[in-house]
Amino acid sequence: MVNKTSLIELKDVTKKYPLGNGEYYQSLYGISLTINEGEFVAIMGPSGSGKSTTMHILGALDTPSTGTFMFRGKNITSYSNDELAEIRNREIGFVFQSFNLLPRTTVYKNVERPLMYGKVPPNERDQRVMDALRLVKIEDKAQNFSNHISGGQIQRVAIARAIIMDPSVILADEPTGNLDTTTSHEIMGYLQELNQKGRTIILITHEEDIAKFAKRIIRIVDGKIISDTKK
């Protein structure tokens, strides 16, 4: 029985990667976790712990080798590429550590792109793009090219793009990895604000002070969850 507020549920998820010589590298060993709507979860772990693999599976970018991935009560483990693309477009907003924006493209066009893939009518887009940019206070840079703005501004644009389709969850993979402390806190402030408005945030980080912004911290070591604590 799925909890009615449960958004994401991983059950005994493993992930193996073929090494090419008939052998496999196993990244995850039976991960099980449930994330409810409105949560702010930080997934922590050292390099090679499997936290990024977990995030890729949670983001429907990758599929588990075994186990199940339930999203809004539906088992999406065996979804086709196009069905997963649809989930990524409508339900998940990504903020990566680097290479967040399309090169040679304006801030506006970057934020608009998910609306194009989501087939949102052109007459609705301008309002939505500008609202999203205003939310992260970067509307004045709308026509700037993505290579003409600072690192902090790039992350703000990435947040604007992540929320443009009004997704259920925002997945932020080391979103402050390349930023100074002040800018990092500013970015985390935006994520916190989104969470306060009811949006689910999943944060992947190895920095303790960044993880403190979250309400729940899941620690992964060697492909297994070693702790799951709520504030």
């Binding site: 970018l61 990758d62 196009d82 649809e86 990524r88 477009n89 990504f94 967040n100 893939y117 052109p122």
Partner: protein
């Protein structure tokens, strides 16, 4: 996804590597450019030949003695055409025949103004003169009343040799075989094909050539004008029967004369020229394939360079088809732009060549359409493999790519 947005993004992507894009396009530009240029010149050549032939008119056919059209020029054919043959055709009174024009030919020496030159002499009747269709610079043409008079039309080059340039020779006297001929007109033919020949010739009344220069009634050609060219072949068949009968040719033997209509010749020349044009254009299109391989190569490089970008697009919801469309359009945009530049260069090249050789310039719309379609197809065919490779990338592998 909207195509205008993808096209815009493609142009931006292509502009970001301008030199590379230009070099890749070069193959397409050369391929399309050469096809357009050759096709255009081929069509110009057809138009030129048509124009030249049309100056003689296409509403007649010619009869020559012997097996081919030129056997009569040198004379001495075993069974020559004579005025009797022309008379037989004339007397038959066929409905489609307007006029019968016999021609005699002789090569002789002509003297005037203390100079003597070797000239070709045409013996013509009034209808024959109109078929030769020379332009009269000075004086008058021959008339029926001149048929037994020693009067001559002189070609402009022959006149220049005898009397000097820019002189009106009308009224001057010409001596041929000891007889004196009064020049009544100066003619000029502007045909590139035959002008040189006619301009250094002299035209005399047919009877005069037969009786006083050749000394026989042998003809080198009989031209028959028809009223309706649709029935020209039927008329030719009828005349053939008539002539075979008149010349006592037994059934089963070959004709000892030959018949040609300009319409036939024109159609043959046109089809040969068009075939050659298509053949050469086809050969030049091989360079298009080379251009296409260049497009494929650079698109593969582009897919590799933009692997992370593909991963990012997939993470925000791009489906495989969206990625495929984007890269395919990029390769089509590149080859179509190359194609358009090639068309412009090809047209320019054809124009310059037609200018240099004095042939008409023809802009071939069907070939331009073919070129646009061909360059689009090159973009699709050679862009498909790289685009499919881009689309097939797993989002996570693409995002992780360094």
């Amino acid at each position: 996804m909207e195509y205008n947005e993808i096209i815009r993004a493609s142009i931006v992507a292509l502009k970001s590597n301008l030199m590379r894009t230009a070099l890749t396009m070069l193959g397409i530009i050369i391929g399309i450019g050469s096809v357009i240029m050759i096709a255009s010149i081929g069509q110009s050549a057809v138009a030129y030949v048509n124009e030249e032939f049309s100056s003689f008119g296409t509403n007649y056919f010619q009869i020559n003695p012997g097996q081919n059209a030129f056997s009569g020029i040198g004379g001495g054919s075993s069974n020559p055409l004579t005025l009797d043959d022309a008379q037989v055709i004339e007397d038959a009174g066929m409905e489609n025949i307007i006029s019968v024009a016999p021609f005699a030919f002789a090569s002789t020496r002509a003297a005037a103004n203390d100079k003597e030159i070797q000239v070709s002499v045409y013996g013509v009747t009034a209808p024959g003169q109109s078929l030769l269709n020379p332009t009269l610079v000075y004086g008058n043409f021959l008339t029926d009343a001149d048929s037994n008079s020693r009067v001559a039309l002189i070609g402009i080059d022959a006149a220049e040799e005898l009397f000097g340039a820019d002189i009106n020779p009308v009224g001057e006297t010409l001596r041929i075989n000891g007889s004196r001929y009064r020049i009544i007109g100066l003619t000029e033919s502007e045909s590139d094909l035959t002008g040189g020949f006619f301009n250094s010739s002299i035209i005399l009344p047919l009877d005069i050539v037969s009786e006083q220069i050749r000394g026989d009634d042998e003809l080198f050609e009989i031209d028959v004008s028809v009223a309706n060219t649709d029935y020209i072949n039927q008329t030719m068949d009828d005349v053939e029967v008539l002539l075979r009968d008149a010349r006592d040719l037994e059934e089963g033997t070959d004709n000892d004369f030959n018949m040609t209509s300009f319409i036939d010749s024109l159609e043959t020349i046109n089809s040969i020229t068009s075939l050659l044009t298509a053949l050469i254009a086809g050969i030049s299109s091989i360079s298009l394939i080379v251009g296409g391989v260049g497009v494929m190569n650079i698109m593969l490089v582009s897919v590799t360079e933009r692997t992370k970008e593909i991963g990012l697009l997939k993470s925000i919801g791009a489906k495989n088809n969206d990625i495929l469309t984007q890269f395919l359009i990029e390769s089509v945009v590149m080859s179509v732009i190359g194609g358009v530049i090639g068309i412009v260069i090809g047209i320019l090249g054809a124009f310059l060549i037609s200018l240099a050789f004095g042939i008409p310039f023809i802009l071939s719309i069907p070939w331009i359409i073919i070129a646009v379609v061909a360059s689009t197809l090159v973009g699709i065919i050679f862009g498909l493999y790289p685009a499919r490779r881009a689309a097939a990338l797993s989002p996570i592998d693409a995002l992780r790519y360094e």
